[in-house]
Symmetry: C2
Subunit: 406 residues, 2 copies
């Protein structure tokens, strides 16, 4: 752990990167509000579209935004400063430091996932190499919940709540008009968001009846066998499938349908219904069942307005606050991790962790959260996820009394 460092005066620059979440602006506003409390932070600048805005010196002055505006921005989904998917080169860093130096920037905050943590790490290491005195902090967010060192990440609780509500409704829809329904859920590497579909279950026969995660190899034969068993039992079947499911050799099932990838090398899995349609067609071909449908939940999972977890919104705000506190009081660089305290009730604390511990590699669902059969989650997962999502809407059902005797 690096030694504590002395007071540094300068301006602060904050930016957002990667896929948005519905609470990502809570972190932004938390950081802005906290920065106003510290005399060593003079100007508060926002870079538009992440590091692209730094390269082009495309900044706005956040210090002047009113409290009412900040409050409204905090509750608005999706990166208000704009986002980007870009990994900086050494040359990019050199240009960025020139821009930062011109604007006397000494505090840099980057809100994003593991790719953004990698970008923050690159900027931090280049700054040290090029002897540019800069405090670099990563502020975590991702609906995928796949950041190492974190019990969970801001954005996940709200995304999980959206997925749970969608499956609650879809299970009722499927109960009314029985058939096989396949829903494809986001999550490139980790199954946390798909797993959250299990929170939709209220009654014993409720779906999702099957859950397929990227952490376990997926085979079509097994998939069809599982669905046949569920249909035999319930006369219907609701399935949650992660967009990131892979075959036995780790190759994404969706890969043969999608070719695009971003500059971090991630294959683009969202924004297409191909995987769901493929799976539904396989079910149709291999089973004698009339109604087979697929939905791909898509970007709604990360940006639908009005559905969010209060716990998630609060924590996202706190992570922004803590990043500024860590940068001002103690450390040259780091990422703010959410840690859960042992026992009940649910409580968390915020910890600074080194950037290289969250950058690049992602976290997967632990084995304890995955059913031994590989097609469901465990009670341990449900207990983990429930406090992050908060209360879900009530689902009623008739007692279904028989007719009176004649």
């Amino acid at each position: 752990m690096p030694a504590r460092i002395k007071r540094l005066d300068g301006n602060m620059l904050i930016a957002q990167s990667g896929g948005p979440t519905v609470v990502i602006n809570q972190s932004l506003v938390g950081a802005i509000r906290e920065a106003r409390q510290h005399a060593c932070i003079c100007g508060i600048y926002g870079s538009l579209h992440g590091i692209l805005g730094i390269l082009e010196a495309n900044f706005i002055n956040l210090a002047r935004e009113s409290d009412a505006t900040l409050e409204a921005v905090a509750v608005t989904p999706s990166s208000m400063l704009g986002s980007v998917r870009k990994k900086p080169s050494t040359e990019d860093c050199r240009r960025m430091f020139q821009v930062m130096q011109r604007h006397e920037v000494r505090y840099f905050f980057y809100i994003g996932g593991n790719d953004s943590a990698e970008t923050t790490l690159i900027i931090h290491e280049e700054a040290r190499r090029q002897r540019y005195d800069l405090r670099c902090f990563h502020i975590c967010k991702t609906i995928d919940n796949d950041l190492r060192e974190n019990d969970h990440t801001p954005g996940y609780g709200s995304g999980a709540g959206f997925v749970a509500r969608a499956f609650m409704g879809d299970n009722l829809d499927n109960r009314a008009l029985p058939g096989v329904k396949v829903n494809v859920v986001m999550g490139r590497q980790a199954g946390f968001l798909t797993a959250a579909s299990a929170l939709a279950r209220v009654y014993p026969d409720d779906g999702p009846h099957l859950i397929y995660l990227p952490e376990r190899p997926f085979t079509l034969a097994r998939f069809i066998r599982d669905i046949k068993r569920v249909v035999a039992e319930h006369g219907r079947c609701v399935v949650a499938v992660s967009e990131g499911i892979v075959d036995g050799r780790g190759k994404p099932i969706a890969a043969k349908y999608i070719t695009e990838s971003d500059s971090h090398g991630n294959v683009q899995l969202s924004g297409s219904g191909a995987l769901g349609d493929f799976l539904a067609e396989e079910v149709r071909q291999r089973m004698s069942i009339q109604r087979v449908r697929a939905d791909t939940f898509g970007y709604m999972q990360r940006s639908f307005v009005g559905v969010y977890s209060e716990v998630d919104a609060h924590e996202a705000h706190q992570v922004g606050i803590h990043a500024v506190r860590f940068a001002v009081r103690a450390y040259a660089h780091g990422s703010v991790a959410i840690k859960r305290k042992a026992g009940k009730p649910y409580r968390v604390y915020y910890k600074r962790v080194p950037l290289d511990r969250v950058a690049k590699e992602t976290r997967h669902m632990p084995d304890a959260f995955i059913h031994p059969d590989g097609n469901d989650v465990t009670q341990a997962f449900l207990e983990y996820a429930k406090p992050l999502v908060g209360a879900l809407p009530r689902i009623g059902r008739f007692t279904e009394y028989p007719l009176p005797p004649k």
Copy 2:
């Protein structure tokens, strides 16, 4: 208008049919509660899965359900009695009357869209022909809002509110990560639900920037030209496309990708991402733009839990109540239509209309609601739709002050 008819004692049978909505059980519970007020209605039976339940005498006793259960069911989305897509034959009707007679059913209520109105009409006409004394009422519902005689239908306001929230979020997502985004919205024949995407606009540059409805012929050339213009102006483009868009000869654009149809002869357009993926691929091929994505909103539009319009829920309840009142006090058959009173504030009344006026044929968006260019809606539509959807979440935005001068 038929003459008022005298008191008829017997049991009541109620069922649900067609695609569910999030408020369809409000109508069911409204009808049950109202039926309890009338001495001429003895038993209150629910048929499971529409007319299929009648053919199989698969009934439950709704009279015994507790107030707490009714309250919980009312706020739960999707047809609680189960649904079906089936048009009865003369022989089906004969069998149904045998079952009804055995159960002393004299009041029949069918909650559904125009196909269900047609079913109710067939049952009514067959009952008269076979001299079975039965009061037949259709209770309207459909997120498509395509029932004739109605200002709007129960289910639409909530579905429209879901679509508006989805587009609010997706517009913010697209603003953060610019590109072309195509969202396919439900609505087999009418563009009302797709049109509701326009309610998402808060700021002048907000999407959806283009809206394509089934009421106007769709051409790819025009679609691409429109998108190019919007991208040139805003650097991005969010598009709302109805699943029911048709070419110049009235043939669904989606038809070449989807073959399934139901027993009313409707081609199955939902439950597949094919149309959105096709349109996105066309944009990718014909434009030099990096990010092109498509989402198909799917069944969430009709069954997502926790997002609904209070006005819609209230009116759905009232439609159920009024169906029972009309059946008990006045008419042998009919459908309950929602009529809007002239002027402001928004007020409605409920009117009994003959079944043949809502059965089969659907209603389309009036010309006054469609922009002359055929790729947007009008202010008149927005004023029509706003009170049905109710308040939408607040969307904030930075003032974007320039940096302080040095």
